[in-house]
């Protein structure tokens, strides 16, 4: 298990470090500022803070000394004339995902934003450029729309470690896109997904993957917690199968994480349907599958089972080795040392948690 956890929260960037069997706070930065994503680049240990200042706009900072000092860099910005829709100028409203470009491209970093622009940096994040090929995709202006946020947003970027020009992204609401040429061209990969909220649930466009992840050990093995179920692909997103429970809790939710050592093992954080977005029956539950989603098991030991309203946002559930951790909308932070068999409280008094990442 990696020994650091980064949290992006509504009131700051928080790092925890595992020492003598306990998680202790190592760093608090940007106190009071919403941090949409707290991200560490595993290639070089650089920490990134994606800030969502209520007043001053979206900002991006990096630290090369584990949060002791930070440097502000130019946040992704839309070029003059870019429009979300005809007549609606595009401005960066939120940074919703970050991903490093892989070992073959040591200077490359990707960022996904609301209102739907993918950005790439070729200079270690000093500057970012809009990926015009996706922004100009013929489906975007008419076929993408807001889900969770008012405008479309890119919340998932998966770089294939075997071929780092091969990338999947997840967009709410549009669906899954794939590039095999480093972002020059894009293909829609929504076959098998279902969007119950659309007039045609099997439409090509308009799907709502809440989060898209790949099995670390088998990148063709993709999972998504979708607005309309849990879906899995074993063929690199060529097709998707609904693996959620029709009646059980493992169905609606936002977050999903796949085991590092087993592409068939994953955890989800179920929530009540989109009508209420609360904990199911007032109880917090994580569900784990060990067989690729054929069956799900509830993991509740140590989690609150009454008077609970917590849900887990899309970037706020993570795993590393036998460790699993998640943060909630009401500021609770839980850790399991045994793949979810039992849970410990790390903190009950945090701000709303937006992102959780295990790092070295």
């Amino acid at each position: 298990m990696k020994s650091t956890i980064l949290l992006g929260t509504r009131k700051g960037f928080i790092a925890y470090h595992f020492q003598n069997g306990q998680w202790k706070t190592e760093n608090l930065s940007f106190e009071g500022v919403p941090v949409s994503i707290a991200y560490a680049d595993p290639r070089n240990g650089t920490w990134w803070a994606c800030l969502d200042h209520g007043h001053w706009g979206v900002k991006l900072h990096r630290s090369k000394d584990r949060g002791a000092t930070w440097e502000e860099v130019a946040a992704p910005a839309y070029p003059e004339g870019a429009e979300v829709k005809d007549g609606q100028p595009a401005t960066t409203r939120y940074i919703w995902s970050m991903a490093h470009g892989g070992k073959s491209f040591p200077s490359k970093i990707w960022a996904g934003t609301d209102p739907g622009g993918l950005f790439v940096s070729e200079d270690e994040g000093t500057s970012f450029q809009l990926v015009e090929s996706l922004w100009n995709h013929p489906t975007r202006k008419e076929g993408w729309f807001g889900g969770g946020r008012d405008l479309p947003g890119i919340h998932s970027i998966i770089v294939d470690p075997r071929d780092e020009n091969h990338i999947h992204i997840g967009i709410s609401c549009a669906g899954v896109f794939e590039t095999a040429d480093g972002g020059k061209t894009w293909a829609v990969r929504n076959k098998g997904l279902r969007a119950d909220f659309l007039p045609d649930p099997y439409a090509e466009m308009g799907h709502d993957p809440h989060i898209l992840v790949a099995a670390p050990g088998d990148p063709d093995n993709l999972w998504q917690q979708n607005h309309c179920g849990i879906f899995r692909s074993v063929n690199g997103a060529q097709s998707w199968d609904d693996i959620g429970e029709p009646e059980g809790p493992a169905r609606f939710g936002f977050a999903i994480t796949v085991a590092e050592d087993n592409p068939d093992q994953a955890w989800v954080a179920p929530a009540n349907s989109d009508m209420t977005r609360t904990a199911i029956k007032g109880a917090l539950c994580i569900c784990r599958t060990d067989d690729g989603g054929k069956t799900w098991r509830e993991q509740r030991k140590g989690l609150p089972q009454e008077n609970c309203f917590d849900i887990v946002y899309r970037h706020a559930l993570a795993s590393s080795g036998n460790g699993v951790a998640f943060g909630t909308t009401t500021g609770n932070f839980f850790f399991s040392p045994d793949k979810g068999e039992s849970w410990q409280v790390i903190n009950n008094y945090l701000p709303m948690v937006y992102s959780v990442q295990f790092v070295d």
Partner: protein, 90 residues
């Protein structure tokens, strides 16, 4: 020469920020000058399309500007241009 004053809230990000005299004859030009003096400050006040951020206000001689998109509100040589944040959120 108009004078630009800033909300104290911006000092968190620009500790050296202080009342600054400006030469420009448009608000956009004045903010460009402030960017020269305090690199990065314009992106805290305007978005990348040059529009005043939603929760930021600019007052000219005590009156809130009307044109938040192209910043065409006039001012005089002795005007005070005050940049403040809306009191919102929690």
């Amino acid at each position: 020469m108009p004078t630009v004053k800033f909300t104290y809230a911006l000092k968190r990000f620009f500790p050296g920020l202080q009342q600054t005299a400006a030469q420009g004859d448009t608000l956009a030009a004045v903010l460009e000058e402030m960017e020269s003096s305090y690199p990065g400050v314009r992106s805290y006040v305007l978005d990348e399309q040059g529009k005043l951020r939603q929760h930021v206000n600019i007052f000219i001689d005590g009156t809130m500007i009307k044109d938040r998109t192209t910043l065409s509100d006039p001012f005089s040589e002795n005007s005070e241009i005050y940049i403040m944040q809306a009191l919102s959120g929690g």
